[in-house]
Symmetry: C2
Subunit: 371 residues, 2 copies
Amino acid sequence: MKFTLLKQSTQNRARLGIIDTPRGRIQTPIFMPVGTVGSVKALTADDLEHCGAQIILGNTYHLYLRPGCEVISHMGGLHRFIHWDRPMLTDSGGFQFFSLAKLAKFTDDGVAFQSHIDGSRHFFSPEKSVEIQTILGSDIMMSLDWCMGYPATFAQAKTALEKTTDWAGKGYDYWQTQGAPNNLFGIVQGGMFKDLRTRSAQQLMQIDFSGFAIGGLSVGEPTDLMYEMADHTLPLLPENRPRYIMGVGTPENLVELTEMGCDMFDCVMPSRNARNGKLFTSRGDINIPNARFKFDPQPIDENCTCYTCQNYTRAYLRHLYKSRELLAYRLNTIHNLYYYLDLMATMREAIQEDRFDGFKRQFYETRSKGA
Amino acid sequence: MKFTLLKQSTQNRARLGIIDTPRGRIQTPIFMPVGTVGSVKALTADDLEHCGAQIILGNTYHLYLRPGCEVISHMGGLHRFIHWDRPMLTDSGGFQFFSLAKLAKFTDDGVAFQSHIDGSRHFFSPEKSVEIQTILGSDIMMSLDWCMGYPATFAQAKTALEKTTDWAGKGYDYWQTQGAPNNLFGIVQGGMFKDLRTRSAQQLMQIDFSGFAIGGLSVGEPTDLMYEMADHTLPLLPENRPRYIMGVGTPENLVELTEMGCDMFDCVMPSRNARNGKLFTSRGDINIPNARFKFDPQPIDENCTCYTCQNYTRAYLRHLYKSRELLAYRLNTIHNLYYYLDLMATMREAIQEDRFDGFKRQFYETRSKGA
């Protein structure tokens, strides 16, 4: 994998780049749709390509439990199994251990946990996480990290950071012994404490990771605090490596964090909101079940060129959603992911032409108009 | 609408025809996927075209309740509303009143019923059913009929038959006064009594319907009895009109009834079974959640050229189904409908080449091999 920085905005810290992998090129800044358990919910690879997806994410925790490494290995790896031949990133399991914390016990050596499906007992060490991701065959693997909720004390955040650094090293060493062609990213932790974030970044940068992520954000803290942490941490990271903020966020979050120099994003928001009838548009978000759409012959967004907007009306989408028709989930998801990926493409173009400030002004102005 | 009989098998009563409508040509014998509430569940029009659908069915009862005629009329009719520009057939509501009988009260003038959604009270007369179907704008409308379950006494079946004939006439007269371009079919009832079926057919044939359906089959009776009734009734119907057996059935049913001279079929079986993980193949049916498919790299059916079989393995489809992933429903539905529509195309070809007997022998032989 090779990261090339193509352009640096003169107006702010936004940057344009490309990541070249054996499975294809990724233009940054990029958003990665989340394919939790081997499927971006309701969509095929063709749908994802229509949406403009260049890389998707898989969840190691979920895939390890179901269908399991044995099946995926037998089927020739995750790409072949799910019929997606472009780049894929897998997380380490760290975030799921945090979000399903009742079932997880953190120790010095890793995380003991129970399956949320059948209660069976398992253990992830940093080496084990990398081993599983190698079996999955993802193009970008993530180091096992210790993720904290909000609020957390300084002492808690410090412990998590130290474990994260320790595990990052162990996972890296294991990866080196394997000689696998995959790439490995480190994850900065440190809670909402700038000095801990600095310490985490400095420690991880001692290791020659292919890229660096910022974890432990969007875990319940106020948006301004999330921005403050990202703004503090992003410039600490090496310029010649992709920077990835995990699990964020709204369209506004993507714009703000791209301006701060972030290259990669992932979030379940566009796909999950779609399944809940919440749709993004250039003029703000709408709730499709709302009565005001009952007779509305317009597409979700008149400026959108997605399959859904080209073929279906708000009135029909409202009917499908109210009737709990399966088609609703696919059409809504196509639209929301198309919106997110189109927003990223628009930002890349704005950086390329060094007019990010102008883009941002217009983005907020239009988003406030009402859809 | 114009029905042209192209070919009559010399081996049996199977026949090949075309129905020309302003919205396109239908090749018979044909299977019609069911789009209950304005959506063939989980599929778009593009998916349906891939499956080979030439005409789909909508349920008047369901569409009348939700989204309602006001919305569909405002949106320019059912075709535009659901984004399907080929022919569509709507049923009359009769079968739903039977299947949701707790909520329906049959009277001389029609059926009083309560919505299964909100309990609101409504009344369908034969005229009202035609009026609603005219608003929906379907290409083929069905007369309101009185459908009986199995078993029913001779007296019950006779009453239902007489009401059905009476309502057929009233609906037809109303339709004539409207001058709508849609077509109207009559529905033969008569329970499992041949003389009543004969009487029903003779009475309905006094009316110049565009086609004739056989209703009240596949309502719980043994398969042989269903075949006996169809075999008795089909030859009574006019040769120069399409013959449609409603709500049937399995692939074997389609083959047997096509051999008897039936031209049109509809059934929720392929789409409903798909959502329950039951998939049809040329070598028999399979339950995709079965453990034996866990590591199976084959497509559902190695002889199938559907989108699902071209791109996905049984192992992945099993995983999707076991994980309750939304994509499972779409991929399974595409396969099952493709299988049904391909079976009809194969039968049309066999009739065209006057080798239906040979086709049928091979069909049963292959279906028994095991998939």
